[in-house]
Amino acid sequence: MSVRPDTLLRVRGLRTTFATPRGDVRVLDGLDLDVGRGEILGLVGESGSGKSVTAYSLLRLVRPPGRIEGGQVLLDGRDLLALPERELRDVRGKEISMIFQDPRGFLDPVARVGAVLQEVYRRHEGGSRADARARALELLRSVGLPTPERVFRAYPHELSGGMAQRAMIALALACSPKLLIADEPTTALDVTIQIQIVRLLAELRERLGLTIVLITHNLSVVAEVCDRVAVMYAGEIVESGPALEVFERPRHPYTVGLLGARPRVTGADEWLADIPGRVPDLLRPPSGCRFNPRCFLADGLCRAEHPALRELEPDHRSRCHHAERLRGEAAA
């Protein structure tokens, strides 16, 4: 696999397992992922694909019954999985920050937004209260809140969904991280607010050179803003590449299926192209390719042999034995 020179985050062989009464479930099974500096990578998948577990594993926030069993998470060459917990605490917030789907469930409900921002800033950066207050107000303004002073004094429940998400982004940016992990940041928002937040993420990348991993089930959000995309299925990356390439020339049958299953505003197809069947039980994943029971290309080879993630074009990879047969078979 070729490695691009400007990689900020490099994940190799990441394995995360969850213990269940019926046995161990390997939710991530040897995940490899590269994120370039200043890039927005979309990590796409449906429920149970392992996309959120990936986010938590990168920050070592996996809690029992889950555990990280192996692999490397290299941030600027330093392996986060090998760091002592104390050093890792400095990495969280200062080098990597995370935002979530429900900001109001995450922000402290009994603390004013400004107080939390000031505290986070002072704990990491020191300085006077006045400095911290000025910085907090500047952050709130920089995420497009029209009345930063009002938000500074507000409690989370007094904010609308869109304002709360902006406030959480301000908090995530308090210590100028290099990498922002955004886990379904627009899923709970209205259509017109969703596009505001997506535009904000794009603007922060431009202005701050921020690197963003955007985790979502919504392919259109990826189409709107991501430079590269990685598609996950049943704990593995099944396709990755430049967003334009993956959308216009998908090289994995699952990606083809996902793109075709979207009801579109541009055309009224009579029937949607659905993907038959459902996500496999990871306790007993299918033999060979994990997608084979639902795949229109599956044959004996797919049932017998687990495919590797292969590079077909520069930076465009697919985990399909028959990827060559999908050339130019765009769903759009």
């Binding site: 429920s47 607010i193 259109s220 189409a223 959308f247 996902l258 979207r262 505003v265 009224a268």
Partner: protein, 334 residues
């Protein structure tokens, strides 16, 4: 009931709630004078964002919320004038499917028992006939007979929503209100469910009121669209006409906010400032006024729905007076 009578006619439907804002008493006009009709066999989409009143409208139609005013005439009967007992007799004809099947199914009941209940309660069938009807319903929605013995937690999200649809079908309804029925589902499962709804409509001749915020779903399934903003209907049009020529400034913003389908289509867009507005003690004028790029003094007076031709109605005085320009064709996704 005459042949030309619509299946459902809603006239001036209103629902207010008393609320307190900073200790002061106020009135939230959640649904404010909403009127529309649905013809037999039609799929009408009711579109809006949080606080637009779309779900409250649905609950009032079924009288799961008591409307504060207006009339709902269903199959020729004024539902708002009925007693609880009379309403119960009409219930089998008018059903609802909710967004979250997990919350709307009893976790301690098997799928079979859940489906049997309405069939027996409304005296549709008993004993062996009722059980055969359950098997038929399961088959209709693409489930197997053995699913009747399962509990909701033993099913996937998509399967649970199929049970929710089967339960709505159990009593032989003519109209089904679908309240965001696929919002909680994954893309591939959503596609399966939308295809199922379309197939059922063809096979059984159902009429749907489809409540959603997803404009892709609207384009795919609806014959006609109603757009709500802050408790009022702001635009109504046949689906193709609405997407080709969104007239109300809010509808334009809503369509412009839909993310692109491929990175190849990225474009500059007019990002609408501000947030959806809660109609608490609303001023008499246009409720979109504060976010509208074309607002003017005349927008501060009450605004009627204007006829835009071909069943297209718009609540925008600026457009009616030629001040708000027609939408540019290239501004619309094509």
């Amino acid at each position: 009931m005459s042949a030309r009578e619509p299946l459902l006619r809603v006239e001036g439907l209103s629902k207010s709630f008393r609320v307190r804002v900073g200790g002061r008493r106020a009135t939230l006009r959640a649904v404010d004078g909403v009127s529309f009709e649905i013809a037999r066999g039609e799929t009408v989409a009711l579109v809006g964002e949080s606080g637009s009143g779309k779900s409250t409208t649905a609950l009032c139609l079924l009288r799961l919320e008591e409307p504060s005013g207006g009339r709902v005439v269903f199959e020729g009967t004024d539902m708002t004038a009925l007693s609880r007992a009379e309403l119960r007799r009409l219930r089998p004809r008018l059903q609802i499917v909710f967004q979250d099947p997990t919350e709307s199914l009893n976790p301690r009941r098997t799928v079979g028992a859940t489906l049997l209940e309405p069939i027996e309660a409304h005296g549709i069938a008993r004993g062996g006939d009722a059980r055969r009807r359950v098997a038929e319903l399961l088959d209709h929605v693409g489930l197997e007979v053995e699913h009747a013995r399962r509990y909701p937690h033993q099913l996937s999200g998509g399967q649970r929503q199929r049970v929710g649809i089967a339960r709505a079908l159990a009593t032989g309804p003519s109209l089904i209100v679908l309240d965001e029925p696929t919002s909680a589902l994954d893309v591939s499962v959503q596609a399966q469910t939308l295809n199922l709804l379309r197939r059922l409509q063809r096979e059984i001749g159902l009429t749907y009121l489809f409540i959603t915020h997803d404009l892709g779903v609207v384009r795919h399934l609806a014959d006609r669209v109603l757009v709500m903003y802050a408790g009022q209907l702001v635009e109504e049009a046949p689906t193709a006409a609405l997407f080709a020529r969104p007239v109300h400034p809010y509808t334009r913003a809503l369509l412009d906010a839909v993310p692109v389908e491929s990175p190849a289509q990225r474009r500059r867009r007019l990002v609408l400032p501000g947030e959806p507005y809660s109609p608490i003690d609303p001023a008499p004028g246009c409720r979109f006024l504060g976010r509208c790029p074309w607002s003017a003094a005349e927008c501060e007076s009450p605004v009627d729905l204007y006829d835009a031709g071909g069943g297209h109605r718009v609540r925008c005085v600026g457009w009616a007076h030629g001040r708000v320009p027609e939408p540019e064709p290239e501004a619309i996704a094509s």
